[in-house]
């Protein structure tokens, strides 16, 4: 069975599972932020439930609580998603690079909590190893 080849689109082609989902997200300084757990898609007219009648685009990367439902099934309550707006994405390669600092994003709140409450309080926790 030989299917006709697709036309060659002008931009970079990304298959979601192959190139985006579960990729490491790095911030502008190269610090790991999270992995891509899901993508939020809207119609270009802003509709939340697009179909083929109008183009749709990725508006945000999602991370955090979405992991549990991806492993065990179900749909996460939307209040628990952490969004990273596509506006912040600077490059997509073997990692997804952001143009902002990870500390400014909601998704890193657990990292900041552990740093401020535990690790940062232990002696030497804020110094370079050496």
């Amino acid at each position: 069975m030989n299917l006709p080849p697709d036309e060659h689109p002008p931009g970079l082609v990304l298959d979601a599972r192959l190139h985006l989902l579960d990729r490491q997200v790095l911030d502008v300084d190269g610090v790991p932020v999270c992995t891509v757990d899901d993508l939020e898609v809207h119609g270009v007219d802003g509709s939340d439930l697009p179909d083929g009648s109008r183009p749709a685009v990725v508006t945000s990367l999602l991370s955090g609580a979405v992991l549990a439902t991806r492993v065990f099934g179900g749909r996460p309550p939307s209040s628990r998603w952490h969004r990273i707006r596509w506006t912040h994405v600077a490059d997509v390669g073997t990692t997804v690079a952001l143009g902002v600092r990870g500390d400014t994003l909601d998704v890193t709140w657990t990292e900041r909590w552990v740093r401020d409450r535990v690790i940062g309080r232990l002696p030497g926790g804020r110094h370079d190893p050496g």
Partner: protein, 409 residues
């Protein structure tokens, strides 16, 4: 000159860092029961770990991605999550065995019971993980661990019947007193001891820690291809010591104190002191590697910030993971469980979990999006497929053999 020193240091630390409590115990037990008739497994295991480690090191150096980031990205959350659970628990088991090994080795030096040493060892472990630079940690434990060469020296001093040892090694046969199932069970244990998955997590994450690039590939290949086979020779030397002294006397090795007796017999107090220092260094080094691996695997799977090159506060969840794992290991050991038993289980479970880490690395090492022109060559792939079959076979056979032989008893 400086470059040459760097190469030598890399190789020496690879040799010294190769052995851990799993290699020590499994090789001595096997030597005392089967002589050198399982030495071929060490050779198979060493070639396997060379292949596997150099592949994961190359992936890490070229793409900057460590093993578990790749496992997550390739397998997706469900399969990778199951993989993480298995790898993380086995790594924790190995960490427990290594910390217990430190305590047993310190008992040999002091007669003080291991339960008093365990908290001390764990605290020292955490301080090094917390404060020491990665390269310092690697070089010091690796170089001190080199003192285990004394096992090879001991083989010569014991003046064995070389033709008999060669006969055991080159025309292997199952000894009359042992069954075939037990023989193959220990073959899998030895294979798991040589190819422990944590070495690969550690090796690939270490490449990122030390910021390897394509330029460092030659050095990394040399470290692995020269260092690991020498480590394998030391493994066989441990088995040979046990085969020379214990096999004819019908003594079965079941404790760390027995493993050092042939060395004392061969070289006296000095050799004994050296081997104890070596065992402390080897188990301490491996405990560091497994503690870090627990942090590496979880942080890489979750996409957290990780690495010893960062301040602890800049990799907070990574450091918290390691603290919790060290505490769990101490808690388990404080129940008076025998660290040697923990070790024996950890090497077999390592063999069971091997395909989980091996396959994703093999696939990514062939992916030009990650590797560009540094994808696997034909010869590497041919060898890698042979090992895929061996690894899967060992993994599948391990549990039935474990049940059939009562874990080798």
């Amino acid at each position: 000159m400086k470059r040459l020193l760097g190469v030598a240091l890399g190789i020496l630390t690879a040799i010294g860092g190769f052995l851990d409590i799993g290699d020590l115990v499994t090789n001595a037990v096997v030597g005392s029961r089967f002589g050198l008739s399982l030495a071929w497994v060490v050779v198979v295991g060493v070639v396997g770990i060379c292949l596997f480690a150099s592949m994961s090191g190359r992936v890490a150096a070229v793409s900057g991605r460590a093993t578990f980031e790749i496992i997550r990205e390739r397998l997706g959350p469900r399969a990778a999550g199951a993989n993480l659970t298995a790898s993380f628990l086995i790594n924790l088991l190995t960490l427990t065995a290594e910390v217990g090994g430190i305590a047993l080795a310190l008992q040999l030096a002091s007669s003080v019971e291991p339960r008093l040493w365990i908290p001390v060892a764990a605290l020292a472990l955490w301080l090094v993980v917390w404060r020491t630079k990665f390269s310092t940690m690697e070089n010091v434990t690796g170089l001190v661990g080199l003192t285990l060469v004394v096992f090879a020296v001991a083989v010569f001093l014991l003046g064995p019947d070389w033709s008999e040892l060669a006969d055991q090694a080159f025309s292997p046969a199952v000894p009359a007193a042992e069954g075939h199932a037990v023989y193959w069970y220990y073959a899998i244990a030895l294979f798991g001891a040589a190819m422990t998955p944590y070495e690969v997590f550690f090796f690939s994450s270490g490449a990122v820690e030390e910021r390897w690039t394509v330029k460092d590939l030659a050095q990394s290949r040399l470290n692995v291809l020269v260092g690991f086979p020498f480590g394998g020779i030391l493994s066989i030397a441990i088995a040979a010591c046990a085969a020379i002294v214990f096999l004819p006397a019908g003594i079965e090795v079941s404790s760390l104190s027995q493993i050092v007796l042939p060395v004392a017999l061969a070289g006296g107090k000095l050799a004994l002191a050296v081997v104890i220092v070596g065992i402390v260094a080897a188990t301490f080094g491996a405990a560091l590697e497994t503690s870090l691996s627990s942090g590496y695997t979880l942080a890489q799977f979750m996409g957290w910030s990780w690495g010893k090159f960062r301040r602890p506060a800049q990799a907070a969840r990574f450091h918290l993971t390691m603290i919790v794992c060290i505490l769990v290991a101490v808690g388990v050991l404080m129940t008076s469980v025998d660290p040697i038993k923990v070790t024996e289980f950890s090497v077999v479970f390592s063999a069971i979990a091997l395909p989980l880490t091996y396959l994703p690395i093999l696939i990514v090492a062939n992916d030009p999006e990650y590797m560009g022109e540094h994808v696997n060559g034909k010869v590497t792939n041919a060898l890698a497929l042979v090992y895929l079959v061996i690894i899967v076979t060992a993994s599948v056979a391990a549990i039935p053999l474990m049940i059939a032989t009562g874990a080798g008893s």
